[in-house]
Every structure is written in structure tokens, then in C-alpha cells.
């Protein structure tokens, strides 16, 4: 039986269709989860996709982090459920307290959409299939993608090997220490600003590098089963 990976839709979520497609391309079953759901339908992992949940009102990700579905997601994540937050999903995971730091307005104050290279720097549930130190090319598309945290947190993240992705060139959004993605202490919750789900087929993206995140988690789930 194939793994079942939940994909959450909040009002204003945009990349849920892309995340679900990436899950299917990787060989898993995509399970739609609605923001009002409180039952995760026993999924094996969860993707919190990109978009503008609740219109980014208040602060990007702030309202979604407090929506009904996130209660059980946070609880399950703390118990080891693999969770991937992409773009707005990363913002939501930070707002929900699953990941440290915050995402603020790009330093150039403009939305940025371009293909960028990322270095994979940590072995996590979502990057197990990559060699640490390898590079992938995926789209970045966000207006509030500048990762920030206090110096002590940044030092700790680097010291603990929790910087999962770093921009290979100087971060276009001004992210501190060029950080593009980080993970939880157990390496099972990962958040990143760029969009691996838009790089699963050379027809529609820069290549298929992004698919590796979704196949990685499947490998982990299968190995654990």
C-alpha cells in the first residue's frame, strides 16, 4: 500500500494542486486536508503548501497557524510526523512554533520570481535522498521570503546542522546567512521558501530536482514501516 501524504488547503492556498501532483509523481497518494478539518485521516506525512492563506492578513501565516487543522498537525509533528512547509507553508510552521525564526519582507521590497540554486546542507526526512553538499535548482517566488532569527538562534541552527537549504548565491531576498530552509531538532519538520513542487517535470519547471524531497520522505516512511 502506498504512503498517504496529506496536503492542506486553507482559503487562499494556491500551490496545493502542485504539491498534490508532486506527491503523486513521487508515488504516494495525495490526501486533501481542509483547513476546518480536525482529523488528519491517518496520513503518513503532511505538506503545508504555498499561497496566501487567509490573504496574508495580520501576518503571513499567522491566521493559518491558528486554524483548526493545525492543532492536530502540530501535535503529530511533535510526535514525529514528517511535515514539509513550502513558502507560505514555511511561514505557517514558523508561526505555529514548529520551526524557529520568521519570514519577513524581501530586502528589495518586491516580489521575486526566478529559478535559483540551493545547496542541500542537512540529512532530514525530506532530504534523505540528496547528498549533503549537492545543489538543486528550483523556483523561488515570494514577497516575504527573507529568513530572520536572532544571532543565537542562527548560531544554534548552524551548530546543530539544522540549516537544510542555503541559497548557492547571495540570497536574493536578503535572508540572513543565506538560509532558504531549516528543520526541527529531529529533522522531520522542514520548511523552505523556494518551491520544490514546481520542479518535478522539465516541461513545467527548471527540471525535476524538487521531486527528491517527496521521494525522500517516501523512502523514510517505507523504511520505517
Amino acid at each position: 500500500m502506498s504512503a498517504r501524504i496529506g496536503v492542506i488547503t486553507f482559503p487562499g492556498t494556491l500551490d496545493d494542486v502542485d504539491a498534490a501532483r508532486a506527491v503523486r509523481y513521487a508515488g504516494a497518494e495525495a490526501v486533501s486536508l481542509w483547513h476546518r478539518d480536525t482529523d488528519l485521516q491517518a496520513v503518513d506525512a503532511v505538506v503545508v503548501p504555498g499561497g496566501f492563506s487567509y490573504g496574508d492578513y495580520l501576518r503571513a501565516g499567522a491566521i493559518a497557524a491558528r486554524s483548526p487543522v493545525m492543532g492536530p498537525v502540530v501535535e503529530a509533528a511533535r510526535a514525529g510526523l514528517p511535515v514539509l512547509g513550502i513558502c507560505n507553508g514555511f511561514q505557517i510552521l514558523c508561526e505555529a512554533g514548529l520551526l524557529p525564526g520568521a519570514l519577513v519582507r524581501n530586502s528589495g521590497l518586491r516580489f521575486i520570481c526566478r529559478e535559483i540554486r540551493l545547496r542541500v546542507e542537512a540529512d532530514t526526512a525530506w532530504t534523505a535522498g540528496f547528498e549533503v553538499g549537492s545543489a538543486i535548482t528550483v523556483p523561488l517566488k515570494s514577497g516575504e521570503g527573507r529568513y530572520v532569527a536572532d544571532e543565537a538562534t542562527l548560531d544554534r541552527l548552524e551548530g546543530d546542522g539544522r540549516v537544510v537549504f542555503r541559497y548557492a548565491e547571495p540570497a536574493p531576498n536578503g535572508a540572513l546567512r543565506d538560509i532558504a530552509g531549516v528543520c526541527s531538532t529531529d529533522g522531520r519538520v522542514v520548511g523552505l521558501m523556494p518551491h520544490p513542487e514546481h520542479a518535478i517535470d522539465p516541461l513545467t519547471g527548471p527540471g525535476a530536482d524538487g521531486l527528491g524531497l517527496f521521494t525522500s520522505v517516501l523512502t523514510r516512511l517505507t523504511a520505517a514501516a
Binding site: 487562499g12 494556491l14 496566501f52 490573504g55 492578513y57 516580489f111 521575486i112 513545467t204
Partner: protein, 763 residues
């Protein structure tokens, strides 16, 4: 105006009151109605209109809504469209957007529309709501919107106001489209002094639907309910109707006037899209209409006139976001993100449940009646009682005088013949780079990098590709291609030929991907229709475009007209923007943009003539605009498109790029820059001087990359089709080497081409 009673409290201007007070003066002129138009309204109603009726007629009979100056000319599109051209058309001109049957039960709907004046007043919100409006038009056809494009025209790059208008417009288009989750496939950014006080923001949206889901705007079935859903109705975007409001609310009432430009909330629209699609899937909608220009006035009168005729609306049921709104204001409000549906009584509960799931506010505001009139009540009193067709369709029609301006002959006589042409290798190279780095031809990345082109995962090509290519759905490799184009400099020199050339270029762009062009949408931007010279430009362009579409056998399916784009007496360049939709049988076989792989051959399809009048070269190097535009032979254009489609199906091309602004030189530079690889080529055979060979803008030409193994096949295909073709050289190396001119380093070309816009627009 509303009458104050003796207690000072305002009372409604009811139908009964209007009948009883025929002598009451009304501010029809301030609302834009001419005396004879006002008299006509009184004649229709047999009394003076109420405030609310006056508001409805004035806005629905405006140029924007009634097409009163353009109607007589737009008929040309209908007259030149044959039954054969209509064969795949499920809906055409007159509906919210044209719908084309693309086979296997799929249909595509697309439309381009202007939002020019609001984008000058408030660039960000004006452009944002321009995107929002065209997206709702597409939703109203029963389709899921799947992509947007935008054509932007502003003053010179270094003009002070461009620094306000362009970044504002781009952030508005990006803000709204990105937040809606619609990929932006590209479009145009054009700089010209005539747009300095009149920027053009033309937005295109394309949607996809199953043919059985096609929805049209009509209200039929007596007893069916009218449901208003989406955002609340407020005081924004009321425009001229505030003349009525200001009579009602004098100084000291504490009510602030709101800006006349509407304010967009893309989050509300995203939710509305998903809500509408769920309503369609559940079969809960009989008819649907978006609320755009003229708000409820337009939606109710159009729904009623397209249905059985009678409708009752109770304005007390409309969910409002401001207190004390008058009936005229409620009817004229252009608050965004609203839709109006016709629902059978037994489906109302299910309809409301879907809206509740998406947190969309919905209210039953009326029903279809067996009467003949649209009757609207407020506070239990009848404030509107009109035959709906007289509001929606029977507006005034004008035969505006038009005349070829006397200066046209001088303009056409001032050709480029006397301009100095470069001849040395160094001079030619310098001009190639000068063009590539000019604001007119420099990279638009600064703009398009602010737009999401990946969302929904179906974008096979987007800007800077000539055409956007979109997969229709995951299950099939069927797709579409889209391009919008207009060279308004050509249109000034000859509006008829210019309009034909705009169509030719859009067709060529779509064809560059290998797609078959099938339908047209147009956005006709012109100066004042009261100026006979402008009206002549308009008449020429429309007739030229209509005939050109007939020659190509592809129908105009809809669009819009924007007049009064002028500052004092200076009109914008005549700008008939043409959008073309093409079909792609297999998106995986679509031809990529730019150069192919190193080692592949570079071929030029088509013939180059000495046609520099109106060219980018004349404009950039000599600041010259005069003469006659390039020849436009649509049979030749059609042949090229057919060769591209056949070649793509046989996978003969590894890359393609059409030749347009800047000619062969610019096409080579853009291919080299886009693919980050050089090439070694000769100029096309013939006796043209090098400047003409490089910079001429002859139509019907395409630069293609051909793998060695496919060259013989392509040669055969060209011979069979009678397509002129020449092998220019091969891709490879770090330099663009054109015989007879100094080599150009690709890395330096990248900088020259991409640095221009950021240098001016980055703070």
C-alpha cells in the same frame, strides 16, 4: 437628487415621487448624459427618471458600457465572420468572453480588457482591479481561470511619472495575479511619450471548462432567485454618481468621499473562484454574471434583458459595507469581488451551504418575475421601474464623424530613406548593442520577475518566450498558446496596416511554439472619438483587423474598446492590441523559445525586404517615426504558421523566435541572451545592405534552430510549402558572430540587455 422633508431627514426619490415632480431638476450633465440622451430617457419612461434610474442609465449609457461611438464600426467583426469561422465558437462577441470548443469535451475562454484610466490615477489598485475584473469575466463563463497576461504602455523610461506609474502598475498586476494563483505568461511593456499621461493597462485572462459547464448570463424561469455573493457593496468606485451622493450628503455630515478607483482584495476573489467552481460542479447555477463596471446596474439589467425580462430586486437585502448608502450608490458601486447568480428556489439552500463552506457572504436579493420591467425597491418603495433592455442594450448609437487627418500624407512621406545607415563592422555592432540595450528592446525581466509563472504547474512556456504555452490539464498533453501584440508606431503610420500587422505578429508568436492559431480577442485603445482624426484611426484599424481575421479564418471572439486616451489634444498612438489563442496538440512537442543546442543549425524562415520605416532602429538610432509600415501579407504569414506547426509535430525544431521589433539583429541577440550561448551566422542572401538585413522589420519571418539530423526534413518541408528559407549558420561558442560585423561577447550582451530597466527603476 433626494428630497429632504421638513424634518431635514432625506427621503427616497421613488418612482411615484418622480412621476409627481416632473419639473425637478436633475444633474444629468454632471453624470455625463447629453441633453438629448436625458430627453430620451424621459421619453422611454414617460416621466423623469428617479435618482436611482438616472444613475443606472448614465453609467450604462456611458462610452465605457454602451460602446456608443464604436458600435457602428464593431459590427464589422460580425459581418466578416463566416459560419465556417464560427464552427468552433460556443460563445462570441456580446457574452462576457468568447468560448472556443477545443475538442474532447474541453473548451477555452479568453478575453483582453483595458483598465487604463484608473491605472493612471492609482497605478497599483487600478492595475490590480483590472486583473480582477477580467478574471471575473472568465469565471462568469463557467470556467476556471488558468492564466493571465498583461500589455503595459507607459511614458518614456526616464520620464519622472514613469517611476510612479510603471512600478505601481507592475506591483498591482503582480499582487493581484500572484495572490489569485494565476500564472502570468507574459505580455508587453512599451515606452512611448504619448502614453506619459495615459498609461495603458490591458489584462488578458484565459480559462478552461468542460463544454457542459458553459454558463451564460441570463435570468430565466419565473420564481428563480437572484443571489448576490462575494464581497460587500461599498462606496468605492462610484465615480460620477457621487454627484447624486453629494447632493444628499452635504458638508458636515461626516461622510468622507472615497476614491473613485476601486480597491481590490485578491484573497476574496480567490475564494470566490473556488466557491463558483464548486457551485458549477454541483449544478446549482442557472445563470451568472460578474459585477464589474456599473456594478449592480449592469448585472441586473443585463441578466434581466438576456432572460425572460422581468426581475424584482430588493436593495435592502444587499450586504453593505457602508452605512446610509442611497439606492443610486448601491446600484452604481463598483466594489470588487462580487458575482450575481440565478438559482432555482429548491437549490437556494444548497447554494448557500457552498458559500458558507468558503466563507463567502451570499444573499437572495430578488427574483425573476413574469413582468416586463426590472423593478427595484428600497425601504419598501419602488425606486426603479424600467424595461431592462432600454438600460442594457438600447443606449445611444453615434455615427461620429471621421476623416483622414491632413498631416497623414506628410507623415507617410517622411520615410527613412534619407537616414544615415551604418556600414562599418564596428558601427553595425555598436548599433546592434544600442538597440538591445534601449528601453524599447531591453529585457523585461525587471517586470516579469515580479510575476508568478509557475503556480498550478501547467506552464510550459512563459515570457520571454514569444508565446505562453499552457497544458490544459494533467491528464492530457493537450495545450494552448497565447500571445498579445501591437506595434502602435506602425498603427500611427497606417492604422489599417498596423492593425493587420498586430494580428500577424500575434499569430506568428503563437505559431513560434508550433501552435495552430484559432481565435482572437482585441483591446482597442484610442484617443477621443470626438476627434475625427482619432475616429478615422479607429475605423481603419477595426476594418483592417476584421478583414485580416477573415483572411486568416480565425474569429474575433470578444474584447473591449477604450477611448479618450489623450492628454489635452494629444492622443496616444492608435493601439489596437491583439490577443491570439492557439491550440497545441501535445505540449511536450511545443517548440522551445530561443536557441537550441550548440551545434544545431540556425535557419531564417521568410524573406527580408528593405523595410525600416517605423522600425525600432529608426526610433532608437534616429528618433524617427515616418513612412509606411512593413508590408503585411497574411497568406504568407499563414504559410509560415503552417510550416511551424508541421515542423513542430515532426520535432524538427530545437528552438524558435519570431522576428519583430529590432529585426534579425534583435532576434539573434535575444536568442543568445536567453540561451546563454553564441552563434556564428551570415546575413540572409540577397542584395540588401547590412543595416537593412539586420534591422528591417519585414513581417512573416522566424528564426529557428534545427538539429543537424532534421535539416534535410526541414528543407523538404519548406520546398513543399513554398516557404522561403535560408540557413544562416550554427549555434555555439561564447560570442554572437555575424558576418560583416564585429563579434559580440554573449556575457556582455546579457549585461547590456538586462541592465537597462533595473538601472532606472531600482532605487
Amino acid at each position: 437628487m433626494t428630497v429632504a422633508d421638513q424634518t431635514g431627514r432625506t427621503t427616497l426619490d421613488t418612482v411615484a415621487n418622480a412621476a409627481a415632480t416632473p419639473e425637478q431638476e436633475q444633474p444629468h450633465a454632471a453624470l455625463g448624459l447629453r441633453d438629448e440622451e436625458y430627453a430620451r430617457i424621459r421619453e422611454i419612461l414617460g416621466r423623469r427618471p428617479t435618482d436611482a434610474e438616472l444613475a443606472m442609465y448614465s453609467v450604462m449609457w456611458s462610452e465605457h458600457c454602451s460602446y456608443k461611438s464604436s458600435k457602428v464600426h464593431l459590427r464589422r467583426f460580425g459581418e466578416t465572420t463566416t459560419d465556417e469561422m464560427r464552427r468552433h465558437l460556443l460563445a462570441g462577441i456580446g457574452e462576457n468572453a468568447g468560448v472556443i470548443d477545443v475538442g474532447d469535451g474541453w473548451a477555452v475562454t479568453f478575453k483582453i480588457e483595458s483598465h487604463n484610466h484608473p491605472s493612471y490615477v492609482e497605478p497599483h489598485q487600478g492595475a490590480a482591479t483590472g486583473v480582477g475584473g477580467i478574471v471575473r469575466d472568465i469565471m462568469a463563463m463557467g470556467a476556471r481561470p488558468v492564466a493571465v497576461m498583461d500589455g503595459l504602455r507607459v511614458g518614456p523610461l526616464d520620464a519622472p511619472d514613469t517611476a510612479r506609474v510603471l512600478p505601481g502598475v507592475v506591483s498591482g498586476v503582480g499582487f493581484y495575479g500572484n495572490c489569485l494563483g494565476l500564472p502570468n505568461l507574459g505580455g508587453e511593456v512599451v515606452f512611448d511619450p504619448t502614453y506619459a499621461g495615459n498609461p495603458l493597462v490591458n489584462a488578458l485572462c484565459v480559462g478552461v471548462l468542460r463544454t457542459e459547464d458553459l454558463h451564460l448570463a441570463f435570468a430565466s424561469g419565473v420564481g428563480n432567485k437572484i443571489v448576490l455573493f462575494g464581497a460587500r457593496t461599498g462606496l468605492d468606485g462610484i465615480g460620477g454618481v457621487s454627484v447624486l451622493a453629494s447632493e444628499t450628503f452635504g458638508e458636515g455630515t461626516g461622510r468622507k468621499k472615497l476614491p473613485s478607483v476601486q480597491v481590490g482584495d485578491p484573497f476574496a476573489e480567490k475564494v470566490l473562484i473556488e466557491c463558483c467552481l464548486e457551485l458549477y460542479r454541483a449544478g446549482l447555477v442557472v445563470g451568472i454574471q460578474d459585477l464589474g463596471g456599473a456594478g449592480l446596474s449592469c448585472a441586473t439589467s443585463e441578466l434581466a434583458s438576456a432572460g425572460d425580462g422581468g426581475m424584482e430586486i430588493d436593495l435592502d437585502q444587499v450586504h453593505l459595507r457602508a452605512e446610509g448608502m442611497t439606492p443610486a450608490e448601491i446600484l452604481s458601486s463598483e466594489s470588487q469581488e462580487r458575482m450575481c447568480a440565478v438559482v432555482t428556489p429548491e437549490n437556494v439552500d444548497a447554494f448557500m451551504a457552498v458559500c458558507e463552506r468558503w466563507d463567502v457572504t451570499a444573499r437572495v436579493i430578488g427574483e425573476v418575475t413574469d413582468g416586463e420591467n426590472l423593478r427595484i425597491t428600497a425601504g419598501g418603495e419602488v425606486v426603479v421601474d424600467v424595461p431592462p433592455r432600454t438600460v442594457a442594450h438600447d443606449g445611444p448609437v453615434y455615427q461620429r464623424p471621421y476623416a483622414r487627418p491632413a498631416a497623414q500624407d506628410d507623415l507617410q512621406a517622411a520615410t527613412t530613406a534619407g537616414l544615415a545607415r551604418p556600414s562599418s563592422a564596428a558601427e553595425l555592432a555598436e548599433q546592434v548593442v544600442r538597440l538591445a540595450s534601449s528601453p524599447q528592446l531591453a529585457s523585461r525581466e525587471w517586470v516579469t520577475d515580479q510575476y508568478d509563472r509557475y503556480v498550478r504547474g501547467n506552464t510550459a512556456a512563459a515570457t520571454p518566450a514569444d508565446a505562453g504555452v499552457l497544458r490544459l490539464d494533467d491528464a492530457s498533453d493537450r495545450g494552448i498558446a497565447l500571445a498579445i501584440d501591437c506595434n502602435a508606431r506602425f498603427c500611427l503610420l497606417d492604422p489599417r496596416e498596423g492593425a493587420r500587422l498586430a494580428l500577424a505578429e500575434a499569430v506568428r508568436n503563437v505559431a513560434s511554439s508550433g501552435a495552430r492559431p484559432v481565435a482572437v480577442s482585441d483591446c482597442l485603445n484610442f484617443g477621443s472619438p470626438e476627434d475625427p482624426a482619432v475616429m478615422w484611426q479607429f475605423a481603419e484599424a477595426v476594418d483592417g483587423l476584421a478583414q485580416a481575421c477573415a483572411e486568416l479564418g480565425i474569429p474575433v471572439t470578444g474584447g473591449n474598446v477604450s477611448f479618450y486616451n489623450q492628454t489635452a489634444t494629444t492622443a496616444i498612438l492608435p493601439t489596437p492590441v491583439v490577443g491570439v489563442l492557439g491550440l497545441v496538440d501535445d505540449v511536450r512537442k511545443a517548440v522551445p523559445a530561443g536557441f537550441g543546442a550548440p551545434g544545431d543549425a540556425v535557419w531564417l524562415l521568410g524573406e527580408t525586404a528593405d523595410e525600416l520605416d517605423g522600425s525600432a532602429w529608426a526610433g532608437v538610432v534616429h528618433d524617427h517615426l515616418g513612412g509606411r509600415p512593413p508590408r503585411c501579407d497574411l497568406a504568407v504569414e499563414s504559410r509560415l504558421a503552417s510550416v511551424m506547426a508541421q515542423g513542430a509535430a515532426r520535432s524538427l525544431f530545437s528552438g524558435a523566435h519570431d522576428l519583430s521589433d529590432g529585426g534579425l539583429a534583435q532576434a539573434l541577440v535575444e536568442c543568445a541572451v536567453g540561451s546563454r550561448v553564441g552563434a556564428s551566422v551570415t546575413l540572409p542572401p540577397g542584395d540588401l545592405d547590412p543595416a537593412a538585413a539586420l534591422f528591417s522589420e519585414s513581417a512573416a519571418r522566424m528564426l529557428v534552430s534545427v538539429p543537424a539530423a532534421a535539416e534535410a526534413d526541414l528543407a523538404r518541408l519548406c520546398v513543399e510549402a513554398g516557404q522561403p528559407a535560408a540557413r544562416l549558420g550554427e549555434i555555439g561558442g561564447d560570442a554572437l558572430t555575424i558576418a560583416g560585423i564585429d563579434p559580440l561577447d554573449v556575457a556582455e550582451l546579457v549585461i547590456a540587455h538586462t541592465a537597462t530597466l533595473p538601472a532606472v527603476l531600482d532605487d
